[in-house]
């Protein structure tokens, strides 16, 4: 599986994503600068966590207008896989590759801790190696992870099995509607989630629950 990590100014999980992809795929991902005009030929584009452009406007809003995002959109429209983690999820909603928006956490505080997740959907390139209902622990680290959308959108997401991860009951760290932690687009080739799978691929760092996401992608895209 060939992959690329997009680097915006003040992306800060770009190296973590790079290390995780290298570990899981055995290949170095392309590190693509936000001003680049061309996306290399890859199977997966990863939008990493961080504070793109400082996130002084709405999180991800500036990044969604950057030059490279035109290429990322084109890649997604052609059916290429896109994974947005944390700030990357925010960029995907701002780009309208995913519906809804990510608001300030309900308690208005940044939160960093491991959270319980439940796998809701295994019919995707990102989750086929998980099992339905599987309980996972991923860390979150964000100030704006409170997923909101109108009821019609939420009903549709659920009806089309596009809610891939939910926070475990009682462990919603940000007030997200219906405990939503991660969603797919309609074509099921774009996933955005707030928790960090790339921080749980090494047993020394609090678990390996994130490995199956990369294994799923390798199986689906190689």
């Amino acid at each position: 599986m060939k992959s690329a990590v997009i680097v915006f100014p003040a992306s800060n999980c770009d190296r973590d994503a790079q290390v995780a992809l290298k570990q899981m795929t055995g290949q170095d991902p392309h590190m693509v600068w936000h001003q680049d005009a061309v996306l290399p030929d890859v199977d997966l584009v990863l939008l990493p966590g961080g504070f793109s452009y400082g996130d002084y406007l709405r999180c991800g809003a500036m990044a969604s207008q950057s030059r490279i995002m035109r290429e990322v959109k084109a890649h997604a429209e052609k059916g290429g896989a896109v994974l947005g983690i944390c700030n990357g999820f925010q960029v995907l909603t701002e780009t309208h590759l995913l519906p809804g928006a990510l608001m300030r956490n309900a308690d208005l505080k940044f939160v960093c801790r491991p959270v319980g997740l439940e796998v809701q959907e295994t019919q995707s390139a990102f989750t086929r190696k998980y099992s339905n209902g599987q309980k996972l622990s991923f860390p979150v680290a964000h100030g704006d992870g409170n997923y909101v959308a109108d009821d019609e959108t939420l009903n549709r997401l659920e009806g089309e099995n596009r809610v891939v991860f939910r926070y475990a009951a009682g462990d919603n760290p940000n007030g997200s509607a219906r405990d939503i932690a991660g969603i797919l687009n309609e074509k099921r080739n774009v996933l955005g989630l707030m928790p960090h799978p790339e921080r749980v691929v090494d047993p020394l760092l609090g678990g390996t629950d994130g490995q199956a996401m990369f294994e799923s992608l390798i199986e689906a895209l190689s």
């Binding site: 100014p9 003040a10 800060n12 504070f51 400082g54 939160v111 960093c112 760092l205």
Partner: protein, 733 residues
């Protein structure tokens, strides 16, 4: 030209004698710009004029020290060509006036000190002291400081891995915000600030210069009064986004060989960076302020020289490398300007709008700055051994202590800090020391900050020794070899002989402990005048320390891991209750002698425990300090969700002093019972005082023989409950 009046001299924080000295050094009256430059360079904050002669007594050398005090940060050798660069610094005064920005820019400033030397910051810590919880400002200050630290560090993508938070009424009008940054570099890529050679371009990089923070260093060198809120405009404003770009751009420039010297613009901005670089390089510096990137119109030379706008660096490049450097900063969308040149005159010359506005010998700002041997009065330490109240039930006291403001869980704080970004945090906040893996290796750096100000008040010498010993112990307790410290000396007004006495004794105590433990001081910072309306803080010599472990897989943590383990207590328990948490929380007494620190026992016990961890024979270790061994056992039980049963062993000390005494040099280990006797025998042979005091058990309780038990669920509720409940209560103002 502005005529300098005695009023202006006073407003610049200079004494009449100091002003006379300036005139003597210049052979004339200073210009207004020169007066400003002298005032910041001669401020306590920049010149260390009250402490310099005492700080010289600290041990600063060891074979593994690559750079001691005097640069932006200290550097140690951690093997394989790797270097660890670290420092701790205070941002106390600004944080009291404007907690969010004060704390945020404190984080930004210390990060720049570390990355200006070529290191990538890999971990942050902070030591925070607030006023008593009932004080109307405390909640607002806690909230703002924690948000500020998180707001800056999280955006930078550097994990904040731990620290300290304490409350005491002596900080009601003067909180302490001490931030520590630890970075990683290659030993052959360390950058210093000596601007050697003449004719080299002096370049400005980073943010534009505005009028913020003018005279911040002078503010940090004065006492507070009720009017200090008016100083809000002197607090700088942080922009972590720009700092992140500055970090990446600087590291990119450092990968070339274009740089001769580089230094961040921290306190006293352009003034101190240019003067210090020229001073260390033995050169002169000529600046043209018209070339300085400016955020506001019509800035005067005085404004520009004294601005403390953040996220700026000054560098001296090899001639002809300007275009190469400019391209890097253009990529990162940062300002870059050649604003001057190095000379061989050893003078700092500042030009603005075609006129020379300052022309002074650099040594007048550095070597010739006043150094004071201030009179001091070392009062005799407290010696009393307070009586404990035997009617207090042991288990009730435990429950109350684990839920008290100073001893409860700090989860509310650390969950607001990204502590796992960079994917190398192998031990998160909540243990004895945080451990961060050296990227791409099995090595780990253990990091801690420690001081018990109440001990330092009772006995500044023993208290400062204790701070060093506890830092040393915390690093041993995770299985790392302690290597070096950075000290952050927070005290009141040094012009009061009793305060100066505290400073001198504390420095002596740090020196004694660091010498005995082979634990050199490689950098530090002094924050004096921490007084409001004449009321000083508890003496707070915070110690930040770093240690190295060769295999993070063998790291120890505090959490119990198995039922049926034996509990081994290493170190002597005499039941020292003076200045203990027990006395303060249960008997409302802040009295007695500070616990004495036997440095020989510290060394022997610490090395014994570390060896067990390194050999893979112990994986569960906790130092016993604040609150004594019962509190430590409760913390181990809560962390592992495994119960424990203990009794008094190896001594005739009563239950309260045995379980709540704060004797030093002690560790608690949980080891598989099959190996316990052998390890105890080895301790015996090594002449180490020890006792097997109990076992981990299947029942989820902390049980003390003949005293009773308490459920982990109840302990957890109390331990986790205080902070969120306190912060959720309505604000008083």
């Amino acid at each position: 030209m502005t005529v300098i009046t005695p009023q202006m001299v006073r407003e610049h924080g200079l004494t009449d004698e100091e002003y006379a000295r300036i005139k003597r050094l210049l052979n004339r009256e200073p210009s207004y710009v020169e007066l400003g430059i002298f005032s910041v360079m001669w401020s306590e904050h920049c010149s260390y004029k009250s402490t310099r002669i005492h700080l010289r007594k600290l041990p600063t050398k060891a074979p593994w020290v690559l750079q001691g005090p005097g640069e932006n940060a200290g550097v140690i050798d951690i093997g394989d060509g790797d270097a660890c660069i670290f420092k701790m610094e205070s941002h106390n005064h600004p944080s009291f006036i404007e907690p969010y920005q004060g704390a945020a820019t404190g984080v930004g400033g210390i990060m720049r000190d570390v990355f200006t030397m070529g290191a990538r910051p890999i971990a942050m810590m902070n030591a925070l002291r607030f006023g008593e919880p009932s004080h109307p400002k405390t909640r607002h200050l806690v909230e703002g400081v924690v948000r500020g630290i998180g707001g800056y560090g999280n955006c930078m993508g550097v994990p904040t891995v731990g620290g300290e938070v304490n409350f005491h009424r002596s900080y009601n009008g003067n909180i302490l915000v001490n931030a520590m940054c630890v970075g990683l570099a290659r030993q052959d890529k360390i950058f210093l600030s000596a601007a050697k050679g003449a004719g080299n371009p002096v370049v400005y990089i980073g943010s534009k210069t505005g009028r913020d923070g003018i005279h911040g260093a002078t503010m940090a060198s004065a006492e507070f009064d009720d009017a200090s809120e008016e100083k809000r405009p002197t607090v700088q404003v942080g922009d972590p986004f720009t700092e992140k770009l500055l970090l990446e751009a600087c590291l990119e420039l450092m990968a070339t060989d274009a740089i001769i010297a580089i230094q961040d613009m921290g306190a006293a901005g352009l003034t101190s960076s240019s003067a210090e670089m020229g001073d260390k390089g033995g050169s002169g510096i000529e600046l043209d302020l018209d070339k300085v990137p400016q955020r506001e119109a019509n800035m005067s030379a005085y404004d520009m020289m004294l601005s403390e706008s953040q996220e700026r660096m000054l560098a001296v490049l090899k001639p002809g490398r300007e275009a190469q450097a400019a391209a890097i900063f253009k990529k990162w969308e940062l300002d870059f300007a050649v604003i001057g040149i190095t000379t061989d005159t050893k003078r700092l010359i500042v030009k603005h709008k075609g006129a020379v506005v300052a022309d002074m010998p650099i040594t007048a700002l550095s070597d010739e700055a006043p150094v004071y041997e201030r009179p001091y009065d070392k009062r005799s330490p407290e010696k009393e051994s307070p009586k404990f109240d035997p009617s207090k039930k042991l288990m009730d006291s435990l429950l109350k202590i684990v839920g008290s403001p100073d001893m409860c869980s700090r989860r509310w704080v650390w969950e607001q800090y990204d502590n796992t970004v960079m994917a190398d945090t192998v031990q998160c906040p909540g243990g004895d020391a945080a451990v961060v893996r050296v990227h791409g290796s099995n090595k780990g750096l253990a990091i801690t900050t420690d001081v018990s100000p109440r001990y330092c008040k009772a006995d500044p010498f023993e208290g400062a020794k204790q701070a060093v010993a506890e830092a040393w112990r915390n690093i041993n307790a995770v299985g790392a070899r302690p290597l070096a410290v950075t000290d952050n000396l927070n005290f009141g007004n040094p012009q009061k002989p009793e305060i100066m006495g505290e400073i001198v004794s504390a420095v002596d105590g740090i020196g004694a402990a660091c010498r005995a433990l082979d634990f050199p001081v490689i950098g530090g910072n002094c924050s004096l005048y921490n007084e409001t309306n004449g009321e000083g803080i508890l003496p707070t010599p915070a110690i930040g320390a770093v240690g190295l472990m060769h295999d993070v897989h063998r790291m120890a943590t505090v959490a119990f891991k198995r039922e049926g383990d034996s509990i081994l207590l290493i170190g002597e328990t005499r039941g020292h209750l003076g200045q203990s948490i027990f006395l303060r929380e249960i008997q409302q007494m802040e009295t007695g002698a500070a616990p004495p620190v036997d440095l020989a026992a510290e060394k022997k016990n610490g090395e014994f425990v570390r060896k067990l961890i390194e050999d893979g024979r112990a994986d569960t270790v906790h130092d016993a300090s604040d609150g004594g061994i019962l509190v430590a056992l409760a913390e181990m039980a809560l962390a592992g969700d495994i119960g424990v049963e203990v009794g008094i062993a190896g001594t005739t000390v009563d239950a309260v002093p045995f379980f709540f005494g704060e004797d030093q040099a002690r560790y608690l280990l949980s080891i598989p019972t099959a190996q316990a006797d052998k390890i105890a025998r080895e301790a015996q042979e090594a002449g180490i005082i020890h006792a097997l005091i109990g076992k981990t058990i299947a029942s989820k309780v902390v049980r003390v023989a003949r005293e009773g038990e308490i459920a982990l669920a109840d302990l957890r509720k109390a331990h986790e409950g205080w902070f969120p409940a306190y912060m959720a209560a309505p604000h008083a103002n």
